[in-house]
């Protein structure tokens, strides 16, 4: 009897409170219009424009622009840099997230702050840091020049600045928070009980990591990797400082876009947009994957919550009985 009556009254009050706090329709629509207009003008329009410009002179011109040896070299370099820096950052990110989520130690908050450092430092400053460290007039530059690498009886000079290693270093610096940042909350939420359960069943630490830890954070990890990859391929500032813009050798895609656009020759503008369209496409794919993974992760989190929450207490009389003996 009391149940339904009570529910009805609470429903009523809910509806009333919503009425009370809701803005008038005019305000609502004005706000929505402003937000949409901003997105159209500043985000969607430029994006469409990139593709329009890229294909402005036909598909053939577009393909020619992309297969130009120097542009092709830029695409290849970008892929190489991402292929080196993303896996390294994944290893680092997993280690850091593991340490932060599962252990308590001195300097933990310092480590968390350090991981966030690249977010707060301008990429140009990050690039300059490496120039100061490894450049010809830097701290390590002269020493590196005097100590070439000996491999199989041959001498290889170590060149970092204005070369691929510098680009990889700069990219790694800029992208290193992504994986760790994504993993820390997921790992903290998962806790250590599943791993302990695996240990009690006789599993070694390594088996536990592969079969229990990694699968339970996989969506967070993939999410981090995708963001990390997008940034690694799209980074301009830090890479620009250390690369030296040697066409065909140390130019990544973003740098290639800039040099083509500033080249000023006939057709180079369209070529710039052709390369840019690849980066824009990467952004769209990243966005799509990101949305999918967020959905997937939210669902997984819901399941995890369900797995922890006790079922609803059905009968309180049992509880009362407990203290009576």
């Amino acid at each position: 009897m009391a149940g339904p009556v009570k529910r009805k009254s609470s429903d009523d009050s809910h509806r009333q409170s919503r009425r009370g706090t809701e803005e008038s329709p005019v305000v609502k629509w004005v706000l929505i219009t402003i937000a949409l207009a901003f997105c159209m003008v500043f985000l969607l329009l430029p994006l469409v424009n990139v593709f329009a410009q890229a294909f402005g002179q036909g598909l053939k011109a577009y393909l020619t622009a992309l297969t130009d040896p120097d542009s092709w070299a830029a695409i290849r370099l970008t892929l190489i840099v991402a292929a080196i820096s993303v896996p390294l950052n994944v290893i680092f990110g997993v280690c850091a997230a593991w340490a932060i989520a599962k252990f308590n130690f001195r300097g933990k908050s310092l480590l968390i702050t350090l991981i966030d450092l690249p977010f707060s430092v301008s990429p140009v400053v990050a690039g300059l840091m490496f120039v100061v460290l490894f450049g010809m007039n830097g701290f390590m530059g002269p020493w590196l020049q005097e100590h070439p690498l000996h491999l199989f009886g041959k001498e290889y000079p170590i060149k970092i600045i204005f070369a691929v290693p510098g680009i990889v270093l700069a990219t790694m610096f800029v992208t290193f928070p992504f994986v760790a940042r994504e993993l820390i909350p997921v790992m903290q939420a998962t806790g250590t009980e599943q791993e302990q359960a695996a240990l009690t069943l006789g599993a070694s630490g390594w088996t536990t990591f592969w079969h229990v830890t990694l699968p339970s954070v996989k969506w967070g990890l993939i999410y981090g990797i995708i963001l990390c990859n997008a940034r690694a391929m799209g980074e301009f500032g830090a890479v620009s400082v250390v690369s030296g813009h040697i066409i065909g050798r140390t130019e990544t895609m973003p740098l290639r876009v800039q040099s083509l656009y500033e080249g000023g020759s006939v057709g180079s503008g369209a070529a710039a947009f052709a390369v840019a369209s690849l980066l824009a496409l990467l952004a769209l794919i990243t966005l799509g994957l990101k949305t999918f993974l967020e959905w997937k992760q939210a669902r997984e989190f819901e399941h995890a919550q369900q797995a922890i929450m006790p079922e609803k207490e059905a009968d309180t009389a049992f509880l009362v009985r407990k203290d009576f003996r």
């Binding site: 302990q196 695996a198 399941h303 922890i308 059905a314 009389a317």
Partner: protein, 367 residues
């Protein structure tokens, strides 16, 4: 003797969570580690499992010192409070996990998992993931997973904590049956004294890291070793009395002073069933008013207020209640049939005293 702890101490950052604890568990026993939260009972369980290492003292399993054996080498089954099922694996893979680690043959694994599913009455759930199971099913899977590799003992951390009251009751009965059928040495942690009394062969009671008493349920209930145990196991009326003119008094209540001099403070405790009630106001020495009646199923809990304002808790069955035609606000006379002197915490208690000058009790005892 299956498991033995010798002077085990565990410190966390200088604080002793477990302090010089010694007890042993017999082969095939169903043992409860009982105590309020923070009592150290889970730490003891984890030290037996090898998930924590003792700061000092020894843990022995079947006479062998296992302090230096890792958790993997101890061959134990451990069930976590929230079950800790592998959420990315289905029920089959969860139960098969320990067998795969031990490199069982594929066909053997299949047979063993099928056997476990049958024993635990969870057939047909092999393909389900943990989030698709009810609380009771999850617990069964967790226990099945821990027992599949045939451990030498089963350790359960608050096994009934995460399910609702009704399922909890079923699970208790089921655990007793399971233990009876499998006869594997089982230790479980609980903060619920009723659960410990109902399920276990013997109980180890902890408080603030110290072992308070080890004994069978009836033993710890009827002969508590100290005030803590007496108050923790079951409900107790506790009164602080002072000896005046050779009698221990509080309000109008009087108890023998046990030869204590005047001015001594005695703490008196008695169970609710020790309070005898009559509607004949001249039958028992103390006048009281029934203030509240709590309905608890077959049993009722009653709160009486004495003329001096003291409140005493009693219990009786519905039938007795009806027979006395009691109701809230009714005047009664009552007496305390037997009691204990709870001198002070950590000191042994004298045996229960019984008043001899009263007619024998008629109220049935429900322990």
């Amino acid at each position: 003797m299956s498991i033995e702890l010798k002077n085990v101490t565990k410190q966390f950052g200088g604080v002793a969570a477990v302090n010089n604890v010694s007890f042993s568990v017999n082969e095939g026993e169903l043992m409860a580690l009982l105590g309020p939260s923070g009592g150290g009972k889970t730490t003891v369980l984890r030290m037996i499992a090898g998930l924590e290492m003792p700061t000092s003292g020894d843990v022995l399993i079947r006479g062998q010192r296992v302090n230096d054996l890792s958790v993997q080498e101890r061959n134990i089954g451990f069930v976590f409070q929230n079950y800790a099922l592998f959420k990315n694996m289905n029920v089959f893979k969860n139960i098969a996990f320990g067998l795969k680690i031990k490199k069982w043959k594929k066909a053997d694994i299949k047979d063993r998992v099928a056997e476990m599913l049958k024993v635990f009455e969870i057939e047909g759930l092999e393909k389900r993931y943990p989030h698709q199971l009810s609380g009771g099913q999850r617990q069964r899977v967790a226990i099945a997973r821990s027992l599949a590799p045939k451990p030498s003992m089963l350790l359960l951390d608050e096994p009934f904590g995460a399910v609702d009251a009704k399922i909890r009751q079923e699970l208790r009965e089921w655990l007793v049956k399971l233990h009876h059928d499998l006869n594997v040495t089982t230790i479980f942690v609980t903060h619920d004294q009723e659960e410990a009394l109902e399920v276990s062969n013997r109980i180890v009671i902890f408080s603030r890291g110290h072992l308070q008493q080890v004994g069978a349920p009836r033993e710890v209930y009827e002969q508590p070793a100290n005030e803590f145990v007496a108050r923790f196991i079951g409900v107790m009326n506790v009164l602080d009395t002072e000896v005046k003119e050779g009698v221990a008094r509080v309000g109008e209540l009087q108890f023998p002073a046990h030869d204590q001099p005047d001015g001594t403070r005695l703490r008196i405790g008695f169970r609710p069933y020790a309070v005898q009630v009559s509607t004949d106001l001249s039958l028992y020495p103390y006048k009281a008013v029934l203030r509240h009646t709590f309905f608890l199923g077959v049993m009722l809990r009653l709160e009486f207020e004495l003329s001096s304002g003291l409140t005493l808790r009693s219990r009786m069955t519905k039938e007795e209640y009806a027979q006395l035609s009691l109701e809230d606000g009714k005047e009664v006379s009552l007496q305390v049939r037997n009691y204990r002197v709870l001198a002070k915490e950590d000191s042994a208690l004298p045996p229960e005293k019984e008043f001899t000058y009263q007619p024998p009790p008629t109220i049935a005892e429900h322990i």
